[in-house]
Amino acid sequence: MGRVSSPPAPPAVSLRGIHKSFNDVPALVDLDVVAPDGRITVLLGPNGAGKTTAIRVVTGAMEPDAGTVRTLGLDPDADGEEVRHACGVVSAKPALYDRLTGLDNLRYAAELHGVDKRIIDERIRAAAGRFGIEHALHSQVGGYSTGMKTRLALARSVLHDPRLLLFDEPTSGLDPESAQAVLQLIRDMTTDGHTVVMCTHHLVEAEGLADHVVVLDAGTDLVSGRPDDLIKGFWPDDSVEIAVEGNPTLDDLTVLPGVIRIERSKRGTRVILERPDVTPDVVEALVRAGHRIRMVNPHDPTLEELYFAVRRSARDLGETATQEVMS
């Protein structure tokens, strides 16, 4: 008998064709998001892209005007209690009760989630220890620093051992060290089998953390998939980086075919090319303009480059469509 391969696990989150408007202002427009089970999915987008609204739709805290939502295979509209019980949420503002102590905040969440009273204390200790706030549990939350509040909110989100964790800008307002620590904690959670969906507009955070990326803009998804696949899909050929001496602007170079972008820094100017075959033309143009080339190297595009490229291409497409309509 041959081995039967098990079917792929259904996605933890599936949003299909979601529309949502607030007083006729569209917040989500035909949004499709799939978050694979057991992975970290990052929703990337500028402020107002619809990331928070998408998270709210996932738990059923907000009903979409149209579209299909499946969270852990359930419909949040019909099975809201079960869905929300299986979710741990950290919202953009920590949403903590300032007058209560950290312990009271955690106990409140544990009781609302129906954690067995006999193990509540044990769970609270474990969650607080994991996020390094056990020493502050008996202090009023109003006196916590922003970092401490985020840690408490993270601890609260895992108390009931949810399958799906939804983090909305979890590092907003944190100093770089605290942000790194929080990201490491989030990374650790997927090793325990949790699925994480995280919103951010900090591209550096998503780099190296995301197993799956969805780029959002104006309430709709522009691209989604594994970062490597997306980068490969956008730039199928190996890209090239040319370092130029000095700090010239090189704005006229952007019109050359194959130039992705030009970066200027204190160390000099870099020209990023989307494929190797355009290198001779760009080098020739640089030399002809009197610039000295410091080095030419293969370049691995980052998620940040992908993000800007995707948004630029979406904008270009939009402008073309507008022009077509007007003509």
């Binding site: 805290a61 907000m62 009903e63």
Partner: protein, 279 residues
């Protein structure tokens, strides 16, 4: 306990947590204590002490004469052989009864008005919206948490008032007499019914308006006429027979329960989030 039914454990958790926050808020319970003290301790103490100390002067005699405007059944209840005894008894039993309604209604509506909109303003509504707690559970939890501080203050004030009345007026009318049957019925049966009516209306408002300030303003519009009605009904409950009191209470409970049931829809997750179309 789960599914679409009510989970009372979660309801009590919401109520307990809200009450705990109120207890920790000095800026809330200090004015509440002062209000209760004025109505249940200071005013009765000064008034009753003055009347019983004045003796058989003309002013007391005049007040005693005005007792004749009370319904005959009420007059029959008045104890005491001297004018100051009869006057202080009438004041203790009849005049202060409506105060027992005004104090808890004022306190509870102040708490209730801020309860739902406050979650939204502080951002904690987001936590509740994403929690498994049902909207009815949240509504009832908030209702309990709004009702308890006012009722508790009133019961503490009522106990203090009973002591004051018995100590000051008791010797004039032949011993401790307070609370009377009507007062027991008023406090334990009629008053909670009126509180329920007021809070069910105020919580509906709190779930719908955009700010705590707006909720306080709007709740004033609701509670002022309600206080006036309650004042009148409380007086009627005290002047009338126990049966009248029981009937008034039953009517209040019926209206209160109906209004609470209808008000459960005031809590929407979207409103807790504070998004534009949820307000």
């Amino acid at each position: 306990m789960s599914g679409s039914g009510m989970n009372w454990s979660r309801t009590f958790t919401v109520a307990r947590t809200d009450v705990k926050q109120l207890v920790l808020a000095k800026d809330f319970w200090m004015p509440m204590g002062i209000l209760g003290s004025i109505f249940f301790v200071i005013v009765p103490l000064v008034l009753l002490f003055s009347i019983t100390s004045l003796g058989d002067v003309e002013a007391v005699q005049n007040i005693a004469n005005t007792l004749e405007v009370l319904p005959q059944k009420a007059q029959d209840q008045i104890k005491g052989d001297t004018p100051q005894g009869r006057t202080s008894y009438a004041l203790a039993v009849f005049l202060f009864a409506p105060m027992a309604v005004v104090v808890p209604l004022t306190i509870s509506t102040a708490v209730g008005a801020a309860t739902l909109v406050g979650e939204r303003e502080r951002g904690t509504g987001e936590f509740l919206a994403h929690s498994p707690a049902g909207t009815k559970e949240i509504y009832l939890g908030k209702l309990m948490a709004s009702l308890l501080p006012g009722y508790f203050t009133t019961m503490v004030g009522f106990t203090a008032y009973s002591l004051i009345v018995n100590v000051i007026v008791g010797p004039e009318v032949g011993g401790w007499f307070f609370p009377t049957t009507q007062w027991w019925l008023l406090m334990l049966w009629v008053l909670p019914g009126f509180l329920l009516i007021g809070l069910s209306l105020v919580l509906r408002l709190s779930g719908r308006v955009k700010s705590t300030a707006a909720a306080q303003q709007a709740s004033g519009l609701i509670t002022l006429p309600l206080i006036a009605i309650s004042y009148a009904q409380a007086s009627g409950a005290i002047y009338g027979t126990p049966t009248t009191t029981i009937v008034i209470g039953a009517i209040a409970w019926t209206i209160g329960i109906t209004s609470t049931w209808k008000g459960m829809g005031a809590v929407k997750r979207q409103r807790l989030l504070g998004v534009a179309d949820g307000v």
